[in-house]
């Protein structure tokens, strides 16, 4: 298992290099240069050229790319923002905690709601509760995030005045953004859990378990759930990783400084070091989370664990 983990960690190097190259290339192919964006069209061309030279933007693409990579590897330096002239890492340190908190809160809420209601729905298929769950999930899955966010703002901040309308200072500030982000993903998880459970309870081993006299509780929790949970965990893992990239809509609506707005603003301003630094930071995290999810399989499914230990290449 340790060998497998190390191997996977080593795989991350080419993956991250690929990500860096791809993002850098795309950014360089887009029109516009940082000097013009910062100084505006009324600036003198020589001032713009001087600023671009200061950023090293006048260098050829490949030289800039390898300089950048070199700084990361040899100086652990993610670069300096063109706009703020501050180290990119400072932006990430300031913003990432908000994103992480929002991700943990919203993923926990959507996991609790989605998985529990999904199981309930599946166990009581075609009951009133099931219908309510499925229809509600369908509604939330189709509501656009910004609309839901604004409605929550109108109700809780403006009408009831029980929650703040913007910011990220206290835990109270996270309630509305958490609801906004988690409702959509909870709806997805509910539907996924429900269908996975329904499929599992039709399996022969469930019939066997029932036949040998196991209680309904034991059949559901011990036999059905553990098997049904695999696709759910995969989805949860990837959406956890994805939402670390920032919930741009919730961040914008609730004026919460997070990774999403950091990256989108930087892209618009062609602030290459910020885009690169945050993308690489997130890509690293994402790869680690996917690795953890894969390792989690082993604990949930003994069949996969057996494969790891026998040194098999398949990840089940």
């Amino acid at each position: 298992m340790a060998k497998y983990t190390i191997k996977r960690l080593l795989y991350m190097i080419p993956v991250l290099f690929g990500v860096a190259f791809l993002v850098f290339t795309i950014l360089s192919l887009t029109p516009g240069d940082p000097g013009t964006i910062i100084l505006g069209i009324t600036a003198k061309p020589e001032d713009i050229a001087a600023l671009n030279a200061e950023f090293g933007y006048d260098q050829p693409f490949l030289i800039r790319f390898f300089n950048y990579i070199g700084d990361i590897i040899f100086h652990f330096d993610l670069g300096t923002s063109y706009q703020s002239r501050q180290p990119v890492i400072e932006d990430i340190i300031a913003r990432f905690p908000n994103t992480l908190k929002l991700t943990i809160f919203s993923m926990s809420l959507s996991a609790i709601l989605g998985i529990s209601l999904g199981i309930l729905s599946a166990v009581r298929q075609y009951s009133k509760l099931d219908h309510i769950c499925v229809v509600t999930a369908l509604i939330f899955a189709s509501i656009p995030g910004f609309w839901l966010g604004l409605m929550l703002l109108l109700i809780f901040a403006l009408k009831l005045r029980v929650l703040p309308s913007y910011g990220a200072g206290t835990l109270r500030h996270f309630i509305l953004p958490t609801l906004t982000v988690s409702m959509t993903s909870a709806a997805g998880l509910l539907r996924l859990t429900r269908s996975a459970m329904l499929e599992t309870v039709r399996q022969e081993y469930i019939r066997t378990a029932k036949a040998k006299g196991a209680s309904e509780k034991r059949v559901i929790w011990k036999h059905a759930l553990r098997n049904a949970l695999l696709p759910v965990i995969t989805t949860l893992g990837t959406s956890f990783g994805a939402s670390l990239g920032g919930a741009i809509i919730a961040e914008t609506v609730f004026a919460m400084p997070g990774m999403g707005t950091l990256i989108t603003t930087a892209i618009r301003q062609k602030d290459i070091p910020v885009v690169m630094g945050s993308t690489l930071f997130l890509a690293t995290l994402f790869s680690l989370i996917i690795l953890i999810v894969d390792l989690l399989y082993a604990f949930i499914d003994p069949r996969i664990k057996a494969k790891y230990q026998s040194g098999g290449k398949s990840r089940g």
Binding site: T30, P31, G32, T36, I37, I38, L39, G40, I41, T42, A43, K44, P45, D47, I48, A50, L51, S81, Q83, S84, R85, Q86, E90, D91, A94, R95, I112, S116, L120, L150, L153, L154, F156, A157, L158, R161, V162, L163, P164, S165, Y166, G167, A168, G169, R172, I175, E216, K217, T252, V253, F254, A255, M256, P257, G258, T261, L262, T265, R268, K270
Partner: protein, 502 residues
């Protein structure tokens, strides 16, 4: 089992309800504090190397200037750091006499050396260097006298120099790194701190030479979304903000909120590439000017919150006169002019290139042009790509908004040959126009200057170099309890002038 789960759910719902009702969220603005919402974070607080409006709004509270001058150029300068000033007869020497009782926020006195340092810093700055255009050298005969020598007589210098933030030379030399991030000025507010991406705080500088400010604590909160900003204004979490016209109706209905409509010199316009057919024909440009229903455009694209104006010089600006011709909506005249120019309609003008945020303006323009027989195909581009095409002249016709604030002379950027490739989007080149702008800059007599501008804008209108549409208004929404003096052209605000009414 069903009951058990229901119970747990009920417990969870109760817990959630408890958290929310623990203490009803109420905001009451403290008498001596103000919360201002801004669209974006500041990237720097460098006194001269800044580029955004938000940065300027914050810096204007921290740094003071030599004089205060209303941007309309029609008012006499008010004393600030300088008590008085003189301009030599040849217009080449500006002398400022400083107060001797001014201190920076760190307690050190402000002297002529700091002013010299600041002016020279602006001179070197690619960001704000244009504010001191024409400055050749600065001399400080004593601690409280500053003499600016100009290369040539250049009248716009006074308005420009009045916007220079005076910074501390000693502080710059002691800590050049903190200079841009932790500013120390001599203005009414001291910098306290900021949270990257969320807010920035200032507090009153009690030793300010014009007297301590009435409002003691200032917080700039970053709220990018217009709807959220409007909600925060209504809940009282925010006391003052610039709003979008779309939020007007909602906020106007609220008696606790006052809205100020402030004129700006920024202009929304159609630019045509004069190097291309058929835009090189003045009759075609005039026809396009007549074809646009500007009132309708303002109603649709600005919710009525813009001043209709076909002149590049806005009505509050020095040099504007009613004598200068105004184009009004006259589609028949447009058709006649097109016929005169030998254009058989329907005629295809090609692509109307716009950046995304101006696509609604493009749609209105497209409709109006179609009504006189001119077809355009709208092409929307991402802003940076658009800018490249605009400045390199890789377009035929486009619609956008531009701000050339400061002295009226700044409008030379839209007309003079040397600005082709930057802000002269029409790629207009005319020796007479170049000469007129050059003589306006050198003219020291303000009446004579106004006459030259009159000539310039009359010429610009006759030749229909651009089709200017309107000057959008800045909208400020604030607590009715807050008293703000009337905002001058461009809407720069000074929190020192604000006061809570008790």
């Amino acid at each position: 089992m069903k009951r058990k789960i229901t119970k747990k759910l009920a417990a969870a719902v109760c817990a959630a309800a408890m958290i929310m009702s623990m203490s009803a969220f109420s905001v009451s603005a403290a008498e001596d504090s103000i919360v201002i919402a801004v669209d974006a974070d500041v990237d720097t607080l460098h006194p001269s190397d800044f580029s955004t409006t938000v940065e300027m709004d914050v810096l204007n509270q921290i740094y003071d200037t030599l004089m205060y001058m209303n941007p309309d150029g029609e008012h006499e300068p008010e004393p600030r750091i300088a008590e008085s000033y003189e301009i030599s007869e040849d217009g080449m020497t500006y002398t400022f006499h400083l107060r001797d009782d001014i201190t920076f926020h760190d307690g050190t006195p402000l002297t002529a050396a700091d002013v010299k340092f600041s002016l020279e810093m602006y001179q070197q700055s690619p960001y704000q260097g244009s504010q001191v255009t024409g400055l050749s050298s600065v001399e400080t005969p004593d601690d409280y006298t500053v003499i600016c020598h100009l290369e040539n007589a250049y009248s716009p210098f006074l308005l420009g120099v009045c916007s220079v933030h005076i910074a501390s030379q000693a502080y710059y030399e002691a800590s050049p790194d903190e200079f841009a991030s932790t500013p120390i000025g001599s203005g009414p507010y001291k910098y306290v701190g900021r949270n990257n991406g969320s807010n920035l705080t200032l507090e009153a500088y009690e030793d300010y030479y014009r007297g301590a400010p009435s409002i003691k604590n200032v917080t700039f909160e970053i709220i990018p979304d217009a709807s959220t900003k409007a909600i925060a204004l209504q809940t009282g979490e925010v006391n003052f903000a610039e709003i979008e016209s779309a939020s007007m109706i909602q906020l106007q209905a609220n008696p606790d909120i006052t809205i100020a409509e402030v004129p700006t010199s920024g202009f929304t316009y159609i630019s045509m590439n004069l190097e291309q057919e058929p835009f090189n024909d003045v009759r075609v440009r005039q026809a396009i000017n007549y074809a646009i229903n500007r009132e309708n455009l303002v109603a649709i694209c600005y919710d009525g919150e813009a001043e209709v104006n076909s002149n590049i010089c806005s009505k509050d600006r020095f040099g504007y006169s009613d004598e200068q011709f105004q184009y009004t909506y006259d589609p028949e005249k447009a058709k006649e002019l097109l016929a005169e120019a030998g254009i058989t309609t329907p005629y295809n003008l090609g692509k109307l290139l716009v950046a995304e945020k101006y696509s609604n303006i493009a749609t209105v323009v497209q409709n109006d042009l179609r009504a006189v027989g001119l077809e355009v195909e709208i092409e929307v581009e991402e802003f940076n790509a658009y800018l490249n095409n605009l400045t390199s002249g890789n377009y035929g016709i486009t619609a956008l908004n531009m701000t050339l604030e400061g002295d009226t002379q700044m409008l030379e950027m839209a007309f003079m040959t040397e600005y082709i490739g930057t802000a002269n989007n029409a790629r207009y080149s005319d020796e007479e126009m170049d000469a007129l702008f050059t003589s306006a800059a050198a003219e020291t007599d303000s009446e004579k200057r106004a006459e030259i501008y009159n000539e310039i804008f009359t010429k610009a209108q006759e030749e229909a170099i651009y089709a200017v549409l309107c000057n959008p208004l800045i909208l400020y929404a604030y607590n009715t309890d807050l008293s703000c003096p009337e905002f001058a052209l461009e809407g720069f605000y000074y929190i020192y002038d604000f006061q809570w009414q008790s």
